[in-house]
């Protein structure tokens, strides 16, 4: 067998952490990971946050981000050990041999320079080719990556192009010096789902056409399944499983991998509409102060008691604005809101305490949805005291009941939010909403900041609680897999309008309107060859172009 392009043996990576009020400490974040990568192959590195996947990716460039050090093992690229290299040799490696595509292209491009200059810089500075050759290469890459006006695209500044385009330009930047290996670090995570699919396709084609090898790092197994030949699953800095893409997706061996593959497979039977909706949104039109266009246009939806209405859309669709209108934070220009058989004041300040109690809200970022100076007990206890006047032992008893309901238990009562994990924080927020005994809860992207398995747990809990408490959810999300898992009815939003609305079974069944088709088809599926199928069968160009 010929020499592999990348050969990592027992790689250990340490980091210096700065705990508050203590001396800096060194900890190990990757505990001996090994793998090889042949020329022209794509290896997917997958894992949740803190798995060490980005750190491993950057190790192939001999780079450690702020305080991260490669502490042990070997990293061979093209047969040379990176850890033994001088800074000078490392600089010769970066660019000509290995390049990097970061998650946020918007931050990774220098705002003060034109795109062309940045894309060609590595090739020119390393004297790999002349300036005109490098620019010709760049234009060719822009064309290949489907960027508009490839001839002139490079003369623009980063802030003058869209996020999806910039991410492609970043790929061009990485490919321009014609390296042997490109490290893609979550290149599509920050994009909308319909934009993601195009960028993903562009990246995949570019990898195939140039014959470059790639490390593709992501937390989304369905995405990585589309582009990689092999997948390595990482958790807490350890390798869990390593195999071909087919083996990992179709025959996962380890329990953790199986959980990742079967994530979002929650089954939920659709409930029939009731005669009396708990929430009726009628002809809502709204805009923000200082804007000269409507963010919501004539929106009509209903939510039935004990059921879930999912509002889906991409960024800018107006879905979160709808939540703000319903909660009364943004009084609409027109239209009215009917809640539990009564008309709601358009401003929350004009609502009765009963109105406020029965309509609760859970936020996307549980981190900032809880006062960091209050204990879990205080956070959950306040609605009990405020709405029901509970005090002392009675209040305590109810707090413990709620903590049991969210599967956390009494021992958390005196903890502060900073001491909880992401999933636990979101659970406490759920308990706080439930404490008010609401008729309805607005859930605004409540799982999108969480790792997939944790998110799954939250969704299961929400469904379980719906059965017990008979509460209705208005579930705002960009993630159609989530919608499938929990919705009874669905409203699809696009540019401020509801483009499709009805019971789940109808909304998700053909014939589709163009946008819903695009949206539905863009959700990565956990199967091989999905990407090609979708691209071949699409009716509408994605919104990001």
């Amino acid at each position: 067998m010929s020499q592999p392009l990348v050969d990592i043996r027992n790689l250990k990576i340490g980091a210096t952490v700065y705990p508050p009020g203590e001396n800096p400490k060194k900890i190990e974040i990757v505990h001996g990971v090994s793998f090889t990568l042949e020329k022209g192959k794509v290896l997917g590195l997958i894992g949740e946050s803190g798995a060490g996947k980005s750190t491993i990716g950057l190790a192939t460039l001999g780079y450690g981000r702020g305080g991260v050090e490669l502490t042990g093992g070997e990293v061979h690229v093209n047969g040379r050990d990176i850890l033994a290299m001088s800074d000078r040799d490392l600089r010769k490696l970066r660019g000509p041999e290995v390049t990097y595509v970061a998650q946020s292209a918007a931050a990774s491009f220098n705002p003060a320079k034109q795109i062309m200059e940045q894309v060609t810089e590595a090739a020119i500075k390393h004297k790999l080719c002349s300036k005109s050759e490098a620019e010709a290469r760049a234009v060719e890459l822009f064309r290949k990556l489907g960027l508009p006006n490839p001839e002139t695209f490079g003369s623009r500044y980063p802030h003058q192009v869209s996020g999806g385009q910039l991410q492609r330009a970043m790929t061009a930047l990485a490919l321009c010096p014609q390296p042997d290996l490109v490290v893609f670090d979550e290149p599509t995570t920050a994009l909308d789902v319909t934009t993601q699919i195009d960028v993903l396709k562009a990246i995949k084609d570019a990898i195939r056409d140039t014959g470059v090898a790639a490390l593709y790092i992501t937390h989304d197994l369905a995405v990585v399944a589309q582009v990689s030949d092999e997948i390595m699953v990482l958790r807490h800095g350890n390798m869990v499983e390593h195999g071909t893409t087919d083996q990992i997706i179709n025959h996962p061996r380890e329990e953790y991998t199986q959980a990742l593959v079967s994530v979002r497979s929650i089954e939920h039977e659709e409930k029939a509409p009731t005669p009396e909706p708990v929430l009726k949104v009628e002809q809502i039109t709204a805009r923000y102060k200082g804007l000269n266009f409507d963010v919501l246009k004539d929106v009509n939806v209903e939510l039935h008691p004990g059921q879930t209405l999912a509002v889906v859309g991409e960024s800018g669709s107006g879905k979160s604005t709808l939540a703000r209108v319903i909660t009364g934070l943004l009084p609409p220009r027109e239209g009215k809101i009917n809640f539990a058989g009564r008309s709601l004041s358009s401003d929350f300040k004009g609502r009765t305490r009963e109105d406020l109690r029965e309509l609760q809200m859970i936020y996307q970022m549980a981190d900032v949805a809880m006062n960091p100076r209050q204990t879990v007990g205080t956070i959950i206890g306040r609605p009990l005291e405020f709405y029901f006047g509970l005090k002392g032992a009675e209040k305590q008893k109810r707090i413990v009941e709620l903590l049991d309901e969210i599967e956390m238990g009494e021992k958390f009562i005196d903890r502060y939010p900073a001491e909880l994990s992401g999933g636990q924080k979101q659970r406490v927020c759920i308990a706080r909403a439930l404490a008010a005994k609401p008729k309805m809860i607005i859930c605004d992207e409540v799982t999108s900041a969480l790792d997939p398995l944790v998110a799954d747990g939250i969704l299961k809990l929400l469904l379980e609680l719906q059965k017990i408490e008979d509460v209705a959810y208005l579930f705002i999300t960009h993630d159609l897999a989530t919608v499938r898992a929990i919705a009874d009815s669905i409203a699809v939003m696009y540019q401020g309008e509801v483009v499709r609305y009805g019971p789940k079974s109808q909304v998700l069944a053909p014939p589709f309107d163009d946008y819903t088709d695009l949206l539905l088809s863009s959700v990565p599926e956990m199967k091989l060859g999905w990407l090609e199928d979708v691209i071949a069968h699409r009716k509408m160009e994605s919104a990001g172009n």
């Binding site: 970022m365 609605p383 405020f386």
Partner: protein, 271 residues
């Protein structure tokens, strides 16, 4: 968590010593404040540890009493600056609208002119007494506190947890005292240390220029002014108050740094 780092501990001890010295000046000072006990600019001796000043008063005594004046004025001005600045800043943040606009533009105007220049202009028209000095310094400085308090409160009041409290139907009182204040307190307390140092420097500068604390009262800036001519004869009497000011300022700085670090680490909880 609650372990105090060495630098902060040193800062706390020195700051504490200075404050105790200021409070008990009358007890610990070896001589009377205006008492002439020796010759002009005597060198240090067992009777006069730091020697004597330009008319033969005990320098250590002068510095102890001077510290009392300086620290008292600086403390009072800091308290005034803080209460005014933070109350108005919080109000501006919570009410917003035109109240915020009017106050913020006015503060912009005051801050567009250096405080020393403004203080000089004001002191050309009114008598410098301990009270007027405290009021002038306190109010001029409150513009800075206002900006900080407003910024901190605005940052906090757009947090989801404050929105959650508002949607729950909580009253103003709860939102200010239970949601915003506990989270705003530590950055403000750290800032208070810096403001205090600034006040010490400010009052010393004014007194040195001859428009701050007036004789017979002594303060550190004034002692420098009285003894500055000695320097040209190689007599370091004027440098002792310098050392006092510097050590006080540095120790308060160390404490403020520590408080600030402690807060930032508590705030996020995300490392």
């Amino acid at each position: 968590m609650s372990k105090i780092p060495l630098s902060a501990l040193i800062g706390l001890i020195i700051t504490g010593t200075y404050f105790l010295g200021a409070i008990f000046a009358g007890v610990i000072a070896p001589y009377g404040m205006a008492e002439v006990v020796g010759d002009v600019w005597e060198p240090s001796s067992p009777e006069h540890w730091l020697g004597t000043d330009q008319i033969g008063r005990d320098l250590l005594t002068r510095i102890i009493y001077g510290g009392q004046t300086t620290i008292f004025i600086a403390t009072a001005a800091t308290i005034l600056s803080f209460t005014t600045g933070s109350v108005l800043g919080f109000l501006a943040a919570v009410f917003g609208g035109w109240i915020d606009q009017v106050m913020s533009r006015l503060v912009d105007l005051f801050m567009s002119i250096p405080s020393l220049i403004l203080a000089l202009v004001i002191l050309s028209s009114i008598e410098a007494t301990v009270l007027t000095l405290i009021v002038i310094m306190g109010l001029l400085d409150s513009t800075r506190v206002y900006r900080l308090a407003r910024a901190v409160a605005v940052d906090i009041s757009v947090m989801d947890y404050v929105e959650a409290a508002r949607l729950r139907g909580e009253k103003f009182g709860w939102i200010i005292f239970r949601e915003i204040l506990p989270n705003a307190l530590s950055p403000l307390v750290a800032e208070m240390g810096l403001r205090f140092i600034f006040m010490v420097l400010f009052i010393s500068t004014l007194s040195f220029l001859g428009i701050g604390v007036q004789p017979p009262l002594a303060d550190w800036g004034g002692i420098v002014k009285e003894n500055k001519d000695g320097i040209n004869f190689g007599i370091g009497a004027a440098l002792y108050p310098a050392i006092a000011i510097a050590t006080l300022a540095i120790s308060v700085n160390l404490v403020a740094d520590w408080i600030l670090n402690r807060t930032t680490s508590l705030k996020g909880g995300r490392g």
